[in-house]
Symmetry: C2
Subunit: 279 residues, 2 copies
């Protein structure tokens, strides 16, 4: 049950996920906790201004939260980034987006981690869950083998894909389609309108276990394992990361945030994000 | 109606497509003709040995044909490569694969062209139709824009995707999934077993027009347009092409050809292909 909120109240925070269903919240909280527990003190505290950790539009119909923790100087983790957006729809329903991503530094070329759950009604869900590669897989078949073939991540995709409610999802952005790995989980789910409970069951019984396997794989193989890169390799990865991060902000947020939150709030939030992405 | 063939008869040739349905043959013949007419004398004649232009296994249950024309020295076209394979299945049916691809030289970085049609029964079809990119799209958003966004190739994918018999196809090879573009047409079709005619209608009324648009786009924008590359860019593209071509042979043919045609025939045919790919 969504909590009522006025701007006079205490500020809502990222880890509260106040607008989504219990299984949806539990999924996100568990992933954030797993990530934070495992990475421990190598993550610095979140230092975002409070009006970026929580923000809303003038009419109070759209609410958002951002959460960033950077890795300390010894860490391979660049930063972890969590967010949620809740927005009332003209139809009476609401749009809820929750996401968690983890970016590594160019000291390693191992993949990043990404989950995004988009609910635009109680009976529909879009899931993006992947370890996006940081190298061109066509040029680097050994990289494909290490992170995608040997890990058998595609089995996780197949596990979800065989459920009758689940269909492949194609992002309208070709860039987003190009960014993800060949075993990326990109699904849209539509259940019978009479039984919205099914989405919750699906999150709890199917999506959560798969997301945990993906995150554990990422922690073991990517965040906490060492890859020895030459300076040239590291420079190439850094360049690709920079393009990718800026392009992702542009596609994901620059078009929707001004519409949802007004230009002023959007400028403030996106400005902070851009700083983090390019620091 | 498949023609009977014994090794004493005249050799079957690529453009005859003797084992597939009329609409399937017409599709392939039209694509090959369009390609050859448009590229004209910039393509050298096919000089493959006759036992590579047509080959079969010892028991005569598997037949194959290969067709290669290289670009002349002034052409941006490296070579065009057509093939078909026909193989009786233990179930009584037959597997038919027809393919046509066109590879460009590193004097340009424009995408290649690829179509592959796989029929393992009269009621099923797998279609792979794409302009596979020759650069990492994450690092080169301008390239993505020029060849995929501005051309609106994804509309062709959507045209086919909305047919009820058509479902997204996921290759079992992650490398093949990584090689294709984000607007690649990767579909599997399954029609009611009682009405095999539907596959033919689908090829004639839906797949053929889309394939022609894709090939025309490739001819106009890739094969016959100039891209000015620096030496460094050209070297990078050449390196990527080489890895890609060898990996594609390995995945597509090295596993299946010995099984279908026996080791001796497979060695002969793959040896010739490897030479062309690496010359």
């Amino acid at each position: 049950i969504p909590m009522e909120h006025s701007s006079d109240n205490r500020q809502l925070k990222f880890k509260e996920f106040p607008y989504v269903s219990v299984p949806h919240k539990e999924l996100m909280v568990e992933l954030v906790s797993t990530l934070e527990n495992r990475l421990g003190t190598s993550l610095l505290p979140c230092t975002l201004p409070s009006d970026v950790q929580y923000f809303e539009n003038q009419t109070g119909t759209a609410h958002g939260s951002l959460y960033v923790r950077s890795g300390n100087s010894a860490s391979q983790v660049d930063f972890i980034l969590g967010s949620w957006v809740h927005c009332n729809l003209p139809t009476g329903g609401a749009l809820n987006i929750t996401s968690l991503s983890a970016y590594l530094r160019p000291s390693t070329d191992a993949p990043n981690f990404l989950i995004e759950v988009i609910c635009s009604s109680p009976t529909t869900l879009i899931l993006i869950l992947d370890l996006p590669p940081r190298k061109d897989l066509v040029q680097h078949p050994d990289y494909l083998k290490t992170f995608y073939e040997d890990t058998q991540l595609d089995k996780q995709r197949q596990r979800l894909g065989k459920l009758p409610e689940v269909k492949p999802y194609f992002s309208s952005s070709l860039y987003i389609r190009a960014v993800v790995s060949p075993s990326a989980i990109l699904f849209s789910v539509e259940t019978e309108p009479t039984q919205p409970i099914q989405i919750d069951e699906l999150i709890r019984d199917h999506i959560s276990p798969v997301a945990k396997v993906m995150l554990d794989t990422w922690l073991d193989l990517c965040a906490c394992a060492e890859r020895r890169l030459t300076d040239d390799e590291s420079t190439t990865v850094a360049k690709r990361d920079r393009i990718n991060k800026n392009k992702t902000i542009e596609i994901d947020l620059e078009s929707s945030f001004p519409r949802l939150f007004g230009q002023e709030v959007a400028n403030r939030v996106l400005g902070v994000l851009r700083e983090i992405y390019n620091s």
